[in-house]
Symmetry: C2
Subunit: 269 residues, 2 copies
């Protein structure tokens, strides 16, 4: 285990959606260095089987660990849902997923009664959110819907078209009918859809953004482990993608909401 506080944080995702977590980390922990790996050559994970998601996730974590990170953040709901126990059993450094912080943030409002969850087919099928919520609040009404078209819409840049809203209305209809008071955005792509989701759901439903809640959780863990970076030099940000293309670089800029240096091509196998 690497217990050097000045080592970078490692963050991985199946693609570039996890950069919403990096964005939140840079706001909350501006002194941390970050190495990001996006497995864009094999994206998406959300439609694939648990075995394959686990195998890919171990390879992703291995890449980050070989570069000396002090903790691994799984900035992908699908990978967290299926691979977190495997990663924790395989590696000896802190592994932090997006899911547990989302569950905690959902339950932070004790008034919440009816929770909707949206995510990829893999995330919803895993029942990881449903399980995490039900274990702590057995009385909670939970309604989960797989929304596999939403990430492709975000990647197409169609975050607020008429067709985006029509698809959202179709997906969210059963949740609206059940009168949810809270909606968990169980995919790191979805923060970019918040304005469109607001228009369909109205202002009263509370949205739980798994990217923001994950970053807040990382801060608490690093503080508890005395792993906050103390160096005064400018923190580094390295972005590695397993497939490079103009589209991915443009999307990466959009997700990160900032410019960054040259993206590096990563080779996992």
């Amino acid at each position: 285990m690497n217990t050097e506080p000045n080592s970078p944080l490692g963050v991985f995702d199946s693609g570039v959606g996890g950069l919403t977590v990096v964005r939140a980390l840079r706001e909350l922990l501006p002194n941390e260095s970050i190495i990001y790996l996006g497995d864009t050559a094999r994206v998406p994970y959300g439609s694939k089987s648990p075995d394959t998601i686990r195998r890919f996730s171990v390879e992703d974590a291995q890449f980050l660990i070989s570069r000396g990170v002090k903790a691994v953040i799984v900035a992908c709901n699908t990978a967290t849902a299926h691979a977190l126990p495997t990663l924790e059993a395989t590696f000896r450094l802190p592994i932090i997923g997006v899911l547990e912080p989302g569950v905690e943030a959902t339950l932070a409002d004790p008034a919440c009664q009816r929770v909707g969850i949206i995510g990829t087919a893999g995330t919803i099928r895993s029942c990881a959110y449903q399980h995490g919520l039900a274990m702590r609040r057995p009385d909670l009404q939970i309604h989960a819907v797989a929304t596999p078209l939403l990430a492709p819409f975000v990647e197409e840049g169609w975050v607020d078209q008429p067709s985006t809203k029509m698809v959202l209305r179709e997906y969210l209809k059963p949740l609206i009918e059940r009168g949810i008071d809270t909606l968990v955005l169980g995919c790191t792509h979805y923060p970019l859809l918040v304005p469109a989701i607001r228009r369909v759901l109205g202002q009263k439903v509370r949205l739980v953004d798994s990217a923001l809640t994950c970053a807040a959780h990382v801060k608490v863990r690093l503080e508890a482990l005395n792993l906050l970076r103390t160096a005064k030099s400018k923190p580094a940000l390295e972005i590695h993608l397993t497939d490079l293309s103009e589209q991915f670089e443009n999307l990466a800029r959009q997700f990160l909401n900032a410019d960054f240096g040259k993206v590096k091509k990563a080779s996992l196998v």
Copy 2:
């Protein structure tokens, strides 16, 4: 080079869309044995870079060749557009793509003047269709549109929802405005969208289905090379996927429009 006519045909695609080509092959060449490989662990290819598409395609072809196929059919427009020359230079058996037959079928009607092309970002960016058509008919008006959301809609099973039609209208609008007389369906997923496309485009625009035209081309090539299977035994159909899931198996049945035996898990690397 394997010149044994009774060997199977090898067919690969990034996922299960290429099974529309297998379906057409089984109709036109019912005595042929077929080994299909779908690289479902790394699907889609359409949003990835040319280098990565070439690397994946060579691994896919290698898998089929190691199983003794007599020819390799690239049942994926994106892989054909980027990797066909590499595959032809790397391997010594007949390699047949979906693209050239689509170009020939488009030009088979000498009255066609204004051709629309739809496909993944990778296929459209390659300009392979545009180039193939323009080389033979310099006077042709060609309008190509990348339609990256259509394959996800097909995979979600939303082939004729109101939102499908809204997305199609948005994508096809510039083609309709230009008065196209022919539309090339440059992705093996799109045959499943024909009823919805017809409703948006009307009955007068001719649709060129790259799956059907590819199968017709394979038949002509096998005849010319004396490679038609002569055995009287029942031909085999083997389906290998690099990632297995219930969703992929269900989709595979839908694309193939037939039941088949157990799907096998393939390991490429």
